[in-house]
Point group: D3
Chain length 163, copies 6
């Protein structure tokens, strides 16, 4: 049963570390885009579930640019943070960095993933409001509001609404 007092994004912030193994790569030693999006989906889903206090299901992936390739043996650092909430939906920003032992972390891509909190029958449930008390989270919230308008316009065309 989720508790709906407003919550700070720090409380649900999720950090994940993965190591790129042969099973994650194509025949040429590069990590699949789909593998990275699987990790992004799990990190974002845990973050959304922590905010909501209940399970959340993926509703949309906003466009993702793969800026740097991720390679066999790379360490992948993933950080997921709530940037916007609606009544039952949450938008999570996920940043991905690649790293080699002894080298720098390099930003590889950013994704925005939308989730809806659900109860055990899969019915949408209300989520706690977001406490925003700093300029970075304020900026994220504003950009997210823009994306939400674009997304809802498109969703109407395919017959879906986002609460």
């Amino acid at each position: 049963m989720p508790d709906n007092a407003a919550r700070h994004p720090n409380l649900s912030h999720t950090v994940m570390t993965e190591l790129v193994l042969p099973q994650h790569t194509n025949a040429y030693g590069t990590c699949f885009g789909g593998t990275i999006l699987s990790w992004v989906d799990i990190a974002a889903g845990v973050c959304a579930g922590r905010h909501a206090g209940t399970t959340a299901v993926t509703v949309a992936f906003d466009d993702v640019h793969f800026i740097l390739p991720i390679r066999l043996g790379d360490i992948v650092n993933i950080s997921a943070r709530v940037c916007h909430v609606g009544r039952t939906s949450m938008e999570i920003r996920v940043d991905v960095w690649r790293e080699r032992y002894g080298g720098p972390r390099e930003h590889a891509n950013t994704a925005y993933v939308v989730f809806v909190a659900v109860d055990s029958d899969g019915k949408p449930v209300a989520v706690p409001p977001l406490i925003i008390d700093n300029d970075v989270d304020r900026g994220s919230f504003a950009e997210s509001s823009e994306r939400r308008v674009v997304r809802m316009t498109k969703a109407q065309r395919v017959g879906k609404t986002e609460a």
Copy 2:
């Protein structure tokens, strides 16, 4: 070595069938969004590689709406088709349907994935032009051109260009 005579999208059209097993689902019997995007990435990558005649790497996933949930035991039908090509890049449209034995196929989501053809050193290589000879492919090409403009505008902000 890719042969660069123009090619019809029928020649690279890719059809994939997957069965949703326990390993693809969360604790509540629903298939992960990330798992679906992994299948989409492989189907689209095979389609792009068939058009280019060489390996292709994922550059961007356009926004994806998950319209219907996909469940444990569902059959997943995936269809990938080239809808636009640039000099070294290709946009692939991927449609996903869910199906149960004895039931209808229902449209679950659509994704647009951009790939760049690369040689064995990972350097971009030119791809064959696309032969467009019917109204459906003509419509896809036009919509894709619009998305390409939006994507390139965004990509400029993050310092990437798409050839």
Copy 3:
């Protein structure tokens, strides 16, 4: 609840595309025979389930010859089609081709897999008759009938019957 009006093999024909990744290969870059048979089993099982309108369980794999090796990075094309039905059993012919980007599809092996349709308690249930209206399917049906006789003779020795 399966609907038992006769059905055409086109309605259950199943096409699958897989990409050979490092996780499918041995230490020398060749795809395991067992991996290929896993894909064959899933493609054939989906085909059988589509014909029956209910789940089907594997009863027998007829002898399979691996004519060409399948290698890391190959695209594997699998096609499964019902070629014979009994009261509760179905024989599915599965053809496997290997392909490289820019190259031809080469036939790698053929398998015949027998399934029995079952209800949710695992009890065999009757399947729809097969509509045969062309010479290719007619030839498959005839060859399948021969294999069925051989299989049932062997099965009697191990105490099993095929309905």
Copy 4:
């Protein structure tokens, strides 16, 4: 470099134990036929490699009857033993039993798998002759010789020979 002195089947006999986990089952708690054949292929391949003293690749699976279903939570006992050798080929008999904690082992199926020994370039190499010194192995060898004739007759039709 394989040593080609004749070898006793006891020296390459291979025993494998697997536990049926959710990732091996369909949506109804039954282990896939293809999963079982993957384990059979690995057990038989290790057995063939041990006899040959070098890697062996799968050439054919003889017909397999699934006599008893294997279920989630079952322990799977697999035993692989060389029953026949040609110049570069080996036939391995694999028996599979299912078991539950506190219950009996029950015979679930038998498979005959043919391998060819290869060097590091994938070229067939000669394998050691088989020492046969007891009636059970003698019986296996005789039955195997019959299957070999059937298999080679079929293989000729598809343009393959077995050394």
Copy 5:
């Protein structure tokens, strides 16, 4: 329902064979320590479950030294044997050897894993006493008794007891 007549360790002795595939290795062709411990856990769990006649859950891994590295393409031989039982707990000794085709088996590591037998609600249940009738098992039992004292002393510090 476990039958609690005393049982000989031969009755639950478990032998497992695994082949090191690309999916088990890091980017440099060496098998992960964690992968080996996963196999050890399954072999030991099957052995414990066979002795108890019911499911057993892992309680502790005693210190494990990795004496020899295990490599891509190695065959891994695992042997698990009950060496001590308490009222509801069992200690299993697991030995791991590596092997290459045509080469010797080399001892790679030994682990001691403690399990508790549980019923279907996860509640601990009594296990059969151990029949010890030879010097090797007698020696294992004595060494195990020493480890048990050390483990229970440590466990008291973290607030756990081992029945």
Copy 6:
């Protein structure tokens, strides 16, 4: 090429989040001990590699007590921190917590894993000294020194030394 100036444990501290899926559990919904140790091994290996600036291989797992079971659907939080270094070896402390959406984090187990830094030929290489500037790290270092003495005494019996 590792840089051997002394490094603070904060620089290599590694945080990992995993979600327990059906593929990680036994037939009764409990996560395998071996699965948890696989995650611990990867988190600890990344931490060791970050400290060393090069790959590190697992040498030993100290005894691990599983204090609380980890269940299907749990979020697993893993934290790995260098607590001691020798000339080429590093001891990493790994803490594991389980969590449910809307509930507390509960400490599930602690493990100590020893790694040796290696170059690309697998030869041990020297690692940077550890900067210790607070009481928590000082306490960890002292306890680790005790474990190291115990471990090296045992290792001498099995013919291994830890640099």
